[in-house]
Subunit: 234 residues, 2 copies
């Protein structure tokens, strides 16, 4: 059985045999054939997590928005552009997934209409109407049975309250939160710090290289994933 | 005098001594600390033009929006993010410029307000109000005296009419136009084709590598720049 093979794992490859899906990068929501709404995600944290999970022995599928990063070795990558594309690609993988890490910066909203031709100055609307996008991490966490679900939160203020609120409201198993626009971390940076919350616990991962931070978070995820599975099995 | 030194130029370096400014890449217009509106420009055509102009002997300043490209050798690069930043950087260089090539995909509009904190789902507006950005190429072409001004047009339909209309309305010396979403050219591609128009003439540059296309366009620009200057001097 899967759980037995996971529990008999060695320390170096704590996710051996686990099927893990990571979503990473931004999404792009088209306004017309040229313009789009996006966000500042470089994809570096999600790619570092995918690479660290593969090194930890997981069978990794990386669902990636448009980024300028090479595919890490030893994993499968699926490229998507919009939040709707990413939602479809992730949901299609969930029947086979043990762990889902939602590290993408998914656009909350998309333009309600996509103009088929390039909008002209003075002719197009000077207002963009928006429609809410599907909430990928919440939809994954609502599955029965659900995989072990890790969400992300990036906030400019009130970090712990927003992160803990999201953990509970979306029924996540763990959430990794970071400040936007503080110190040297985040976005295009190669460094970051994370506050990690789960029901009844928390950990603080200090500012360091994203590759090292990813190793630490994957170790935490592996511990809690195995703890949850051994509880279910007992 | 500048014109004499330019006219005495050899064939290999037809822009020797000319001071040339190229703007390239997209601009990003912030909605909040995380989200922005942008467009699909990779900056490749503008960077290829800057490199070709430097090889042709011009003293090149490249004003660049956010792109994932290395700076070509032998030129100065100024990084900007928004259309307003790019407008300010370009206008500040125009007192000293002989030629301006506006190859950037400047956002026509920016959000009317930038939220100081990250907007939350269900709390932020579901409509974005937009304000028109300054028109950089038109403002450069309205200067007296003005440099030799080359604009760009990328269109999904009615290419020649839009391009010729822009040439006249904005008082440009030349405009290079390409189709969006046809054949294999444009955007992230390394290849493109251009229709080039000037008052009383046109040229068609066939689909090829952007580096080769840039050489051809720089040769056309040099011919028309010298023709215009020799007319003014006589």
């Amino acid at each position: 059985e899967l759980c037995d093979s996971l529990l008999s794992d060695d320390r170096d490859r704590p996710l051996r045999g686990a099927r893990l899906v990571v979503s990473a990068g931004p999404t792009r929501e088209a306004l017309d054939p040229v313009r789009f709404i996006s966000n500042r995600s470089s994809g570096k944290m999600g790619y570092a997590l995918a690479a660290a999970a593969a090194r930890a022995g997981a069978q990794v599928t990386l669902v990636s928005g448009p980024v300028a990063l090479p595919t890490p070795p030893g994993l499968e990558r699926i490229d998507v552009e919009t939040a709707a594309d990413m939602h479809a690609a992730v949901m299609a993988l969930m029947g086979e997934a043990d762990i889902y890490i939602g590290a993408a910066a998914v656009a909350d909203y998309r333009p309600s209409e996509i103009a088929p031709v390039k909008l002209k100055k003075g002719r197009g609307a000077s207002v963009i109407a928006l429609t809410q996008n599907p909430d990928i991490v919440a939809d994954v966490a609502a599955l029965k049975p659900k995989p072990f679900v890790v969400g992300f939160a990036a906030e400019t203020d009130d970090l712990e309250n927003y992160a803990r609120g999201k953990l509970i409201a979306k029924n996540l198993d763990m959430i990794a939160a970071n400040w936007i626009g503080r110190e040297d971390g985040g976005f295009d940076s190669d460094r970051n710090a994370l506050q990690v919350y789960w029901p009844g616990g928390a950990a603080s991962l200090a500012m360091t290289e994203k590759s090292a931070l990813a190793e630490q978070l994957i170790t935490l995820i592996a511990e809690h994933f195995h703890a949850k599975n051994s509880t279910k099995s007992s």
